[in-house]
């Protein structure tokens, strides 16, 4: 099998503009089978937008996006289920596809939430709900999994477990994963390729490459690989509040 056949989605200088304002621009990366690509960056840096570009949500994007698979599992960033809609975990699993009971059970077991199968979605905790979302995404045996901040509402130990789980899923299903995260320490351990965004690509590469990168250290600070740091961007450019980029 050639390398080409392993590519699931390829972004080439992609960007998206809304109301004449760039949400994100000039993004290039590929997600391959069995690999985890992580997008990091501060709030409003265009991480979710980039994921949605990769998913093909937007019409009229700039640049090129090529998708080589239609088997995509997606866990969106913020999902709230309304009390107006009585929905059990099992109904939620079967929302868009007719899956057999075995498949549903297996997916729920693999993320450790099988015991919640008949519970109402509204009664789940944040962490339980994230695991259900993940189970739902993997139940379809996707080739590409897009996870937008999958550890939201999960406490610290739960977070580590969650990333372990994601690594396991990637290995078991041999699927490509596009992961969005704002915490840096996890990025280093569970990722094949890192893209740091702030309206555009600030830096990218393998975790080790990035870790020894001068720009990366400037970006995240010397202690970045050990602790979760609040970082500042000290680049050759600054971002103004209205999203413009000024060269120093």
């Amino acid at each position: 099998m050639s390398i080409e056949n392993n590519i699931l989605v390829k972004l080439d200088n992609a960007g998206y503009k809304q109301n004449n304002k760039w949400l994100v621009e000039g993004v290039s990366f590929t997600v391959e089978k069995g690999k985890i690509v992580t997008l990091i960056g501060p709030n409003g840096s265009g991480k979710s937008t980039t994921a949605k570009i990769a998913l093909g949500f937007y019409k009229g994007i700039e640049g090129q996006v090529e998708k080589f698979t239609n088997k995509i599992g997606y866990v969106p960033q913020k999902i709230s289920i309304d009390w107006t809609l009585p929905l059990r975990v099992n109904d939620f699993m079967l929302l868009t596809d007719k899956l057999s009971d075995d498949v549903v059970d297996e997916a729920l077991k693999s993320t450790g939430v099988y015991h919640l199968k008949n519970k109402n979605l509204g009664n789940l905790s944040g962490g339980e709900f994230q695991r259900v979302l993940l189970a739902r995404a993997i139940s379809k045996k996707p080739e590409l999994l897009v996870l937008d901040e999958p550890v939201q509402g999960v406490d610290f130990t739960g977070e580590i477990e969650m990333y372990e789980l994601i690594k396991k899923i990637s290995a078991n299903l041999n699927c490509g994963i596009l992961l969005i995260s704002h915490d840096l320490h996890t990025v280093m351990s569970a990722t094949d390729y890192v893209v740091c965004l702030n309206g555009h690509v600030c830096c990218c590469g393998s975790p080790t490459e990035v870790a020894f990168n001068k720009e990366y250290k400037a970006l995240f600070g010397e202690q970045a690989s050990k602790t979760l740091t609040i970082y500042e961007h000290k680049h050759d450019h600054v971002h103004t509040t209205d999203g413009e980029i000024k060269k120093n």
């Binding site: 949605k52 969106p76 809609l85 009585p86 059990r88 868009t96």
Partner: protein
């Protein structure tokens, strides 16, 4: 005792309740109560146009309501006004324009009360055909778009990511809403159609733990409301629409007792 007109009203009511049940669930789930109201208010304009141009009432209402829905979508894109303000603007202005046009049509005698609140005597055989044929069609289309509509009601982005077409489902659903308003106006009236969509569904929510149950209970609630409402309309000579809605309200109040029980059980 059972006059012909009453049988007709009953058959019409059953047909309407079978359709408002499932549609009403989506109105509640998608928070479209006020949207339904706006479409219903615009129906009056449809009626006046039908009368002045000697056009079929149901078709006229359907076209005007769909037009109002299109205008709303356009305004939502083009202006910075919040949706509820736009809905209010369209609801009240189309109601007002409808009433003004009625004022001009002095050559026709209107039963405005009948239009606003429904008239048990107004249902003729043609209406029955429109209600049952149109209603059947609405349910058929709803079955067809159920999956994308329901999935996008739970979460728009999930549905889109998984290859469904939520926007198309939403557009078709809007047309279905316009259609149910068009076919049920004679029995329930302009001002109370949304009540028929929402109140049995609200009752159903109180006693359901799955979406399927909610749809079924919503239909049952609608049917009961129609039966109780129409019999009391006949008995007490009250307008049919308010009688049906009052019956629905009573069922809703009864369903609150069930909630109270569940809460007590939990504690």
């Amino acid at each position: 005792m059972l006059d012909d007109f009453f049988i007709r009203a009953l058959i019409a009511g059953i047909g309407i309740a079978l359709v408002t049940g499932p549609l009403g669930c989506f109105v509640v789930w998608r928070r479209l109560s006020y949207f339904g109201d706006t479409l219903a208010h615009s129906a009056l304009l449809g009626v006046t146009i039908a009368y002045s141009m000697e056009f079929n009432i149901a078709v006229s209402i359907f076209l005007i309501s769909s037009l109002i829905a299109l205008i709303l979508i356009h305004l939502q894109r083009k202006t910075n006004l919040p949706s509820d303000a736009l809905l209010g603007l369209l609801a009240h202005s189309s109601l007002a324009v409808g009433l003004v046009v009625i004022g001009f049509l002095t050559f026709i005698r209107f039963d405005i009360m009948g239009l606003l609140f429904g008239d048990i005597l107004a249902v003729d055989k043609n209406d029955l055909i429109i209600i049952w044929f149109g209603g059947g069609l609405i349910l058929l289309v709803l079955k067809f778009i159920w999956k994308p509509l329901f999935a996008s009601t739970v979460n728009y982005e999930l549905a889109e990511a998984e290859g469904l077409n939520p926007d198309r489902a939403k557009a078709i659903f809007t047309i279905l809403l316009a259609a149910i308003i068009a076919i049920s106006i004679k029995l329930v009236g302009v001002l109370l159609i949304t009540g028929m969509l929402i109140i049995p569904t609200a009752m159903a929510r109180n006693i359901s733990d799955t979406p399927q149950k909610m749809v079924v209970f919503s239909i049952i609630g609608g049917l009961l409301s129609v039966f109780i409402g129409l019999f009391s309309s006949l008995e007490f000579n009250t307008p049919s629409g308010p009688s049906i809605i009052t019956a629905a309200l009573l069922l809703f109040i009864i369903s609150l007792l069930k909630i109270k029980q569940t809460i007590q059980l939990k504690n």
